[in-house]
């Protein structure tokens, strides 16, 4: 009972499309249109942590929260790369994660996209030069789009996914 | 119609007992008891309605007041005082307990068959379930370790007897029911003191701790 009344009082907290940052709104509308066209508005995302500090993961979790609610665009996170259309890779690729990352890419059925999230994924960030790090994500798998930021905001991750959808024409 | 309703009502009352076997939390146990008492009061009122017996209405109202509201409140207070100890490891595990509960109900069905066949009352159909509740409550008292659970089993036993009386005799004289109530109230107070004492002595209301008294 208590839970029900709380649900009723809270209402829908997802930020509606027309509100908030106009740039983000514009972007999100674009994402919506693109996703619809390319993947039938149903995009399975597989997250691969290739050695990140988990800062990016916190932001990615934000994508699933009631506020950003990426599910409304038909994005959902899946449990296996076999179900995925897009890989969301974070972190500098560590030696231990090099093979798993490659295997994940191979396991994903075509058409597939890769979005590398965070500064580390592009330049290894503070980990650059470490003996434990192989290098940026694109040294291991082909990357469609990099999302900068340490960590990037959820909105920017959305933007990255959009750009990937637009460029990586499957 | 009456027979359908009395089976339905008794089933709900019995389900309250089976819920005790199923759940583990103290709050859930109190909830099951409350549910059972309300269902019992409703069944009594239903029988009273069809029998045209105002006394049963009165009894139902009293029952609702005492067992549906009063005792659960007291129990919740007890729970707050002693902290909610869950029935984590009963002597018989939950799934087996439930199956035994089911078998007890079937047993009740078999043993009451002669009883039911002599009765002419339309409410007789619910009697096996009332006996079933009596068996299940006894099983709860035997198989559970926490004193609070056992108190609840005792209260449910009383509910079962009240249900049997209502269904088997089509209503009981109010004076008898008041006597029973007093009995229960007394028993409840004794139990409460008992539980309190156990808690004082052992810092827990697990009756297994009583084994230590032997030493």
């Amino acid at each position: 009972m208590g839970l029900l009344s709380k649900i009723l009082h809270t209402g829908i907290v997802t930020e509606p499309l027309p509100a908030g940052d106009s740039e983000v709104v514009h972007l999100v509308r674009e994402v919506d249109a693109e996703a619809r066209r390319l993947f039938g508005r149903a995009l399975g995302i597989r997250e691969v942590d290739a050695g990140s500090c988990n800062g990016c993961e916190v932001e990615i979790t934000g994508l699933m929260s009631p506020v950003y609610d990426s599910e409304r665009f038909g994005f959902h996170f899946v449990a296996s790369p076999r179900h995925a259309d897009l890989l969301l890779v974070t972190g500098p690729v560590t030696r231990n994660m090099e093979v798993p990352l490659r295997k994940t890419y191979e396991a994903t059925p075509a058409p597939k996209l890769v979005v590398a999230v965070g500064d580390c994924a592009r330049s290894c960030g503070v980990f650059a030069g470490s003996y434990a790090v192989v290098g940026s994500v694109d040294r291991v798998v082909p990357v469609d789009v990099f999302v900068d930021g340490c960590p990037p905001e959820p909105a920017h991750i959305l933007q990255g996914i959009l750009t990937a959808l637009r460029s990586g024409r499957p | 119609m009456v027979s359908q309703l009395s089976v339905g009502g008794s089933t709900l009352v019995l389900l309250g007992g089976l819920m005790m076997l199923w759940r583990r939390g103290v709050a859930a146990h109190i909830g099951a008891f409350t549910f059972q008492s309300v269902a019992l009061a409703a069944t009594m009122a239903m029988v009273g309605w069809f029998a045209g017996d105002w006394q049963l209405w009165a009894v139902a109202a009293a029952l609702l007041l005492v067992k549906g509201i009063g005792i659960p409140l007291l129990l919740k207070r007890m729970e707050r005082r002693f902290g909610s100890e869950r029935e984590l490891e009963p002597y018989v595990n939950t799934a087996t307990s439930l199956l035994i509960g089911g078998l007890l109900v079937l047993l009740a069905y078999i043993v009451t068959a002669p009883l039911v066949s002599v009765s002419r009352l339309p409410t007789r159909t619910g009697m096996p379930l009332a006996i079933g509740l009596v068996f299940v409550s006894l099983f709860i008292i035997i198989s559970r370790k926490k004193a609070l659970t056992q108190v609840l089993g005792f209260l449910m036993l009383e509910n079962g007897i009240a249900l049997l009386a209502v269904l088997g005799t089509h209503g009981i004289p109010i004076i008898v029911e008041i006597g029973v109530f007093l009995d229960v109230a007394l028993g409840f107070i004794v139990m409460q003191v008992f539980v309190y004492q156990i808690h004082e002595t052992f810092e827990s209301i697990d009756v297994e701790q009583l084994n230590r008294l032997r030493e």
Partner: protein
């Protein structure tokens, strides 16, 4: 019919003679096997003839063993069903045996195996034909002994000789009970079943009850009803696989046959508790059988326990027939009996198939331990497909024959809920619950049996090198797979026959309850129908349409073959797979109170730190509790006695002579005492 009878006997006898006479080469194998196939075909023809014609077949041979009263044969509907199921398994087994026993070429064991196999099949075929005490017990014992020798084919392995001991012990215990039962039936005058029936009608109630209980023990031991099943999971795996197929498919059904013959035919049914007893044993066997099957890692032991389960399921139907008959619910009784008979025939088909499949696996890999198998579907595609069919059938899944008989049994138990006695109604509810639990667990069990054995990556080099078996073995399996399909598709035509067989046994006039409406099966009250054929056709059609639609409309991108997804781990080894033990783990935990497994975990730590583990060894065993509490004390007691007897063994000839004289004196004294009275 006479001709068929003689052809059958001649076929098996020729097979036996040829095995003895033609040496130990392929020629002997083939000749003896083919002769047996002829015998089995004739047996099937004889059974079909009796079933179709509806009239019995009888033949007296008073000159054979004349001093004991002579032999007599008669085949009625009930016998025909069991002769049919025996012949149904015998022909493929004989064929399969030709390929299977190639390993014995050039060894004297070959001779013995061929001879005993034919003798086994012959005496087993004659058991349902036997008419009268002597003939029945003679062939019964012949069947038991021949199968004992077959179990002991590889007697050099210690577990085989242990299995043989268990088997012999239980068989003889059962035989003693049977002897008692038959002797309690009045022996004066001719002992054909007709006479026994007339005599049994006037027996006092106590004697009738005793006869029935003895029959339940004697036949139950052969059928493998729990707790008399202990020989079964030992002897079946020890025997060569086609013999296991015969034993599981046909021989244990003879226990059911005997129970029906004595209980329903000769004694003509009894009080309600007879039925309740059989239902109780059946429910116990069904649930415990499948629970033990689930935790087995040995493929053939798993199948053996599954036979215990299926005999339990059959016993549920038989018990219901007894119970309904005593309650005067005759159509329901006939229906339950027909359902049980159909399940017996079905089980013969798929269990025979599965044992042969297991034999093919054993032949190809040399192991029965499922934790060392896997991936055989690539090396042995035929065996795999046939085993899969058998698994679906035995798991009771539509549209195969296992489901049909399970459906019939469910429907047959349903009227029991309507019985006026609350005790009977409750018993039926519990029996239904048990039956459903058994069906569910059987499905889990055969996912394990097929999945762990045939799918995924081979768990040992032997499994990886497995090869397809000889075509004679595959033909044997294919025949039984065909039988499974046929029994399902033609069930609407078979059931009325079985109903006609069952009806006179429970005291109904000949055609029995109607179990057919057009091409569908129907319950006697006409309220529920089912047609495996239509279900299969719809399923096939839907699958076909889906396949075509997917081909036509879905993406045409070619399939890409990749590595198994394992969260990116570097390499996959068979050790990462789920094993047979692991598969059963959830159920083993859920039923832990029942299994009471013993577990033994030992961990070796690194000498420097307890945080580093060098090795973990885990060992777990389940000792069935009736063995622990029922058999172990008895065996210990017998050991004790035999040790005491050992002290009598002085080795001196004089001592033995003294024993002889003492025995003689005692015997004479006893004669004198009884003679005086």
């Amino acid at each position: 019919m006479r001709a068929l009878f003689f052809l059958m006997v001649t076929g098996y006898a020729t097979g036996a003679a040829v095995a003895l006479g033609l040496g130990t080469g392929p020629l002997a194998r083939w000749a003896s096997g083919l002769a047996a196939v002829v015998g089995a075909a004739a047996g099937l023809g004889l059974a079909a003839g009796v079933c179709m014609a509806g009239t019995g077949f009888s033949l007296a041979a008073p000159d054979l063993l004349a001093s004991a009263g002579g032999l007599a044969f008669r085949l009625d509907g009930l016998g025909a069903v069991f002769l049919a199921l025996t012949s149904l398994v015998a022909a493929p087994s004989a064929l399969y045996g030709v390929g299977y026993s190639r390993a014995l070429d050039g060894r004297p064991a070959q001779r013995q195996a061929g001879f005993m196999l034919n003798l086994f099949m012959l005496s087993m075929s004659l058991v349902p034909l036997a008419d009268g005490t002597l003939t029945f017990l003679l062939f019964w014992e012949g069947m038991s002994l021949a199968s004992y020798f077959l179990v002991m084919t590889e007697a050099d392995r210690p577990e085989v000789s242990e299995a043989g001991q268990w088997y012999l012990g239980m068989t003889q215990l059962g035989f003693a009970c049977l002897l008692g039962a038959f002797l309690l039936l009045p022996a004066g005058g001719p002992t054909t079943f007709v006479h026994l029936r007339a005599a049994a009608a006037v027996l006092p109630t106590g004697t009738r009850d005793l006869v029935f209980v003895l029959a339940v023990i004697g036949f139950g031991a052969k059928a493998g009803l729990i707790p008399l099943h202990v020989w079964l999971p030992r002897a079946h795996p020890a025997a060569p696989s086609h013999v296991s197929a015969l034993m599981s498919g046909a021989m244990i059904k003879m226990g059911v046959y005997g129970l029906l013959r004595i209980g329903l035919d000769v004694l003509g049914g009894g009080p309600a508790w007879w039925g309740a007893l059989v239902i109780g044993l059946g429910a116990l066997s069904a649930v415990l059988g499948v629970l033990y099957a689930l935790t087995e890692d040995d493929l053939k032991r798993l199948l053996a326990y599954s036979s215990v389960e299926n005999v339990g399921v059959i016993a549920l139907g038989v018990g219901a027939a007894f119970l309904f008959q005593s309650l005067q619910m005759l159509p329901a009784a006939a229906f339950a009996l027909a359902a049980a008979l159909f399940h017996a025939v079905n089980h013969a088909a798929f269990k025979g198939l599965l044992f042969m499949g297991a034999g093919a696996v054993l032949h190809a890999t040399g192991t029965r331990n499922m934790n060392r198998l896997g991936g055989l579907i690539r090396g042995m595609p035929w065996t795999a497909a046939l085993f899969l069919l058998g698994s679906v059938a035995i798991a009771g899944l539509p549209p195969l024959n296992g489901f049909v008989s399970e459906w019939l049994l469910f429907q047959a138990l349903l009227p029991g809920i309507g019985a006026s006695s609350p005790l009977v109604a409750v018993l039926m509810v519990l029996a239904l619950g048990m039956l459903a639990l058994t069906a569910g667990l059987a499905a889990a069990c055969f996912v394990k049996a097929f999945g762990i054995t045939f799918l995924a990556i081979p768990r040992s080099p032997e499994a990886a090198a497995a090869h397809e078996t000889a075509w004679s073995m595959r033909t044997g399996m294919t025949m039984l797979a065909g039988a499974c399909l046929f029994l399902s598709a033609a069930s609407f035509a078979i059931l009325p026959r079985l109903s006609a067989v069952a009806a006179p046994l429970v005291g109904l006039p000949a055609p029995g309850p109607v179990l057919r409406a057009g091409l569908t099966l129907q319950t006697p009250d006409g309220l529920a129908q089912m047609s495996p054929g239509i279900v299969a056709a719809s399923l096939g059609l839907v699958v076909l349409v889906a396949w075509v639609a997917v081909k036509r409309f879905a993406s045409r991108r070619p399939l890409r073959v990749g590595e198994t997804w394992g969260c990116g781990r570097v390499v996959q080894t068979p050790r990462m797979e789920y094993t047979s033990t692991a598969f059963a783990e959830p159920l083993r935990r859920i039923f832990a109170e029942f299994y009471r497994p013993t577990e033994d975990v030992s961990i070796d730590f690194h000498p420097d730190s307890r945080y580093f583990v060098q090795s973990i060894s885990y060992r777990s065993a389940i000792l069935p509790w009736f063995e622990r509490y029922l058999y172990a004390p008895v065996i210990a007691r017998i050991r004790l006695w035999s040790e005491r007897v050992l002290t009598l063994q002085s080795g001196s000839v004089h001592a033995y002579l003294a024993y002889l004289v003492a025995a003689l004196v005692l015997l004479l004294g006893w004669l004198v005492v009884t003679g005086q009275r």
